[in-house]
């Protein structure tokens, strides 16, 4: 049961794309809409959204991206550097944080937090230097550090690995990044 629930967002995401392309095939007169995430393409290298969707540890992130209406945006040409907190990272947040964030009335806050995880530009692992700052989509800076043994952290969160996507790079991180409070 739990598994099914976990996969629901994914299934529906795909189902939605399917529906859009079916429409275009059968109804000649009705225009078709639907963002780039609906493009049916099993050949191209996956984009950052599909990397997250295909991951087993990013269910919460994918659901949050949907709630924030950012699935299509991140399916765009980019380039993006996405710091992708795992489900465990979200689970570390205080109780009911995520629960509240995905409520429609908190969409702007959720967007702000997710934007703090995205940089417009593709920073590949070999380009990361100790102390490098990136100005994220929400206009706040994050700081990247590289330890002597080559381990990368972002604002202290550990980078667990990286995945090269067609429109950027996804860094898997173990902690959700919270933007600095604006006074």
């Amino acid at each position: 049961m739990k598994k099914l629930i976990l996969y629901l967002p994914l299934l529906l995401l795909l189902a939605c794309g399917q529906q859009a392309s079916d429409n275009s095939a059968v109804t000649a007169s009705a225009p078709v809409g639907g963002g780039q995430s609906n493009v049916k393409d099993d050949t191209s290298k996956p984009d950052v959204v599909r990397v997250a969707v295909n991951s087993n540890v990013h269910k919460t992130l994918v659901a949050a991206l949907q709630a924030a209406d950012y699935v299509d945006a991140l399916s765009n040409a980019g380039p993006f550097t996405v710091f992708a907190p795992t489900d465990d990272a979200f689970a570390k947040l205080p109780a009911s944080t995520v629960e509240n964030l995905v409520k429609p009335e908190n969409k702007a806050t959720l967007q702000h937090i997710l934007e703090y995880h995205v940089y417009v530009g593709n920073i590949r692992e070999e380009q990361i230097r100790d102390g490098m700052t990136l100005n994220q989509v929400n206009l706040d800076n994050v700081t990247l550090n590289v330890s002597a043994d080559g381990k990368i952290t972002i604002n202290g969160a550990n980078v667990l690995g990286s995945v090269s996507a067609s429109n950027g790079t996804v860094y898997v991180i173990d902690t959700v990044l919270l933007p600095p409070d604006k006074k």
Binding site: L12, C16, Q36, T60, N76, A95, E99, G121, V137, L139
Partner: protein
């Protein structure tokens, strides 16, 4: 903890079920359009469109002309690229149009059209376009839809910030995208960027009667990338606003290194002040080589003149010409609203859009309300120049156009949408998706003091699954939306030629009745024109053979030519004797290594041909002109080099055969 997580995930799952269902529904056909879209774009056969839409062709170096609302393509005007279809850049008459200080250049990258204005409104006279690669500005005459002038821009590394025009088309500006070393010694290490690289903004004066361009002066500016620009109008007439990025002055991996600063600049230029300094003789003459190419409609021939000097004002020496306004982050579009009071900066990496007030900028300058300076140039405090910010309008704002009701329409590349907002209140009013990845957008008259409104057109960079696939290379597209109501409504998708960047549209009524139908044969001053079949002839000058040929339905005169030898340079000067609307003739000859030529009624055009083998070579008319078009042909006899076959030409001479 685990239980809470499960609950959250369960809830997220359910939410996304709802969300996904919700997101499927409105994105289906019903939400995208209403049932009357077809009737709104349907232009019945034989009826005219309401607007001309001039759409840049990007890497095809051409300008495409569409009708709106139908999206029908009328013409593709070659500007900076050769066009074998018409012979532009291949005929002897048009080759000089593509001459530069680097020699003949057959291609460029045309990004931005700009329609001439009087008092800030479209006047339907000329259409300017920029060459982004080898810096040039071209001018198209809107009576002939032909490129009639191209001026090269010295001291420019790439002409992106161009061509933007002042209220009365006093000037066309051209800002360099790439800063480059200036002055005598340009062979410097790339790493000396901060020290040696400079920007340059050319002010091209436009003759108000003839449209003729000349570089009146250039501003030498700090070494940034100058991206886009708009002139002030109304109260801000006399000023120009340029978006600048790479204020980091990076020279490598700009993707990372030019995106470090939280804010770059909008550069405000007081060009009336620059004119004052020039009048006082403070401009510095500098040596510079650049081509100025002009097409003369009387001789049907272009001439290229190499110029050798420009007047330069270094803004570091005249700090009251230029002011910087901080603008987040790598601003791309820099657009002035119809009132001339508001300047919209679109930081392409920012999630906020500042709108600056011209009045506040003036007050800040008067009060010296500066946060510092950049290389001696005052930087106005952001808050002091700011009318307000459009908060969270979308992702990746690029360009803004306006309607006549105080609304702005901004394109968002990353979030693939057009967002409508109110310029005064900065309130977001509506948003529509584009399919996909919009670059520029166009409201008819959108950049002028008097927008015509009605539509906004999105020019998309990516289409993926929107059309039948054509292999890896897909069409780019335009999408037409109605803006008559409170909500924008998608009406039509249509594919475009090349890559559309910016586009402008004006009411057809402004130009359609001025369109030239024919060139009068008696006004043809081409030195090789044959203004009647009796003047058709062939002349030899050394190894040059000049064929004074005429074309009229349905024969070429002469159509039998002998006495040409291998190694000769044969010039076919073809005059179209027709004086009838829409009856061009064409000329092509087997083995020609250039192209065909099209000759409009009353015009003369020349194709150069160099025969390499002896034999009899057919030539013919390429433009289907009459029921006997297939008969409109002839033969050229080519004899070996050094042969003494006499020069002979005729039409209708059967040589005694019956």
């Amino acid at each position: 903890m685990k239980n809470i997580l499960n609950r959250i995930i369960l809830m997220l799952g359910l939410l996304s079920v709802l969300y996904a269902m919700e997101s499927c529904k409105p994105k289906g056909p019903a939400a995208v359009t209403t049932g009357d879209a077809a009737s709104k774009v349907y232009v019945a056969p034989g009826q005219y469109d309401e607007f001309y839409n001039f759409v840049s062709g990007g890497f095809n170096g051409q300008m495409a002309v569409y009708g709106l609302p139908s999206g029908r393509l009328f013409r593709n005007i070659p500007v900076f690229s050769v066009n074998p279809e018409s012979g532009y850049g291949y005929s002897e008459e048009t080759k000089p149009m593509l001459n530069t200080s680097h020699g003949f250049i057959p291609w460029d990258d045309l990004h931005h059209p700009a329609l001439s204005t009087t008092k800030g409104e479209h006047d339907g006279r000329w259409l300017f376009g920029n060459a982004n690669n080898t810096p040039r500005v071209g001018r198209i005459d809107l009576t002939t839809f032909r490129t009639v002038e191209i001026i090269e821009l010295p001291n420019s590394g790439g002409n992106h910030s161009s061509p933007f025009i002042t209220e009365n088309t006093e000037y066309v500006v051209a800002g360099t995208r790439f800063s480059v070393p200036m002055g005598e010694n340009r062979d410097v290490p790339i790493s000396s960027y901060k020290e040696n690289f400079k920007g340059s903004i050319s002010f091209i004066k436009v003759n108000p009667e003839t449209g003729r361009m000349n570089i009146e002066f250039q501003l030498r500016t700090p070494g940034f990338n100058y991206d886009l620009s708009r002139a002030g109008k109304g109260p801000s007439h006399g000023w120009f606003f340029f978006s600048c990025y790479n204020t980091e002055q990076a020279h490598t991996l700009l993707e990372v290194n030019a995106s470090r600063n939280d804010k770059d600049f909008i550069m405000a230029v007081n060009w009336k002040k620059a004119e004052e300094y020039l009048a006082q003789g403070k401009g510095r003459k500098e040596k510079a080589q650049y081509a100025h190419n002009v097409y003369d409609e009387r001789t049907h021939t272009a001439t290229s003149t190499m110029m050798n000097e420009v007047t330069v004002l270094d803004v570091m020496e005249f700090p009251d010409i230029v002011y910087f306004i901080p603008c987040p982050k790598s601003p791309h579009g820099c657009d002035v609203d119809p009132s001339g009071e508001f300047i919209v900066g679109s930081g392409k990496l920012a999630a906020v859009m500042p709108v600056f007030s011209f009045g506040k900028i003036q007050t800040a300058i008067t009060n010296k309300d500066f946060e510092g300076d950049f290389g001696g140039i005052p930087v106005i405090k952001y808050e002091s120049a700011l009318h307000g910010e459009v908060k969270k309008p979308g992702l990746g704002p690029l360009h803004t156009e306006f309607d006549a009701n105080g609304n702005a329409y901004t394109s968002f590349f990353v979030s693939s949408e057009i967002v409508k907002w109110n310029v005064k209140t900065l309130e977001v009013l509506d948003r529509v998706p584009t399919y996909y990845s919009i670059g520029h957008l166009c409201v008819p008259g959108g950049p002028t003091a008097k927008p015509h409104g009605k539509y906004v057109i999105a020019y998309n960079k990516i289409t993926k699954d929107r059309y039948l696939p054509t292999g890896p290379e897909l069409t780019q597209s335009a999408q037409l939306y109605s803006i008559d109501g409170d909500k924008m409504q998608l009406l039509l998708d249509f594919p475009t030629i090349g890559e559309p960047h910016y586009a402008e549209a004006l009411p057809a009524s402004l130009i359609k009745d001025k369109s030239v139908k024919i060139y009068k044969i008696e006004e043809n001053e081409h030195p090789f024109a044959a203004k009647g079949e009796k003047m058709a002839r062939v002349e030899r000058k050394g190894n040059e053979v000049h064929v004074y040929m005429t074309a009229i339905r349905s024969h070429l005169t002469p159509d039998n030519i002998e006495g040409v030898r291998v190694g000769d340079d044969v010039y076919f000067h073809v005059t179209n004797l027709e004086q009838d609307w829409d009856v061009p003739h064409g000329f092509a000859i087997k083995g020609a290594t250039n192209a065909e030529i099209l000759i409009m009624p009353g015009e003369t055009q020349t194709l150069k041909y160099k025969p390499l083998k002896a034999g009899v070579i057919p030539f013919y008319c390429t433009d289907f002109c009459s029921a006997l078009h297939q008969e409109m042909s002839g033969y050229l006899r080519v004899s070996p080099a050094g042969s003494n076959t006499p020069l002979k030409f005729s039409t209708g001479d059967t040589g005694g055969q019956k």
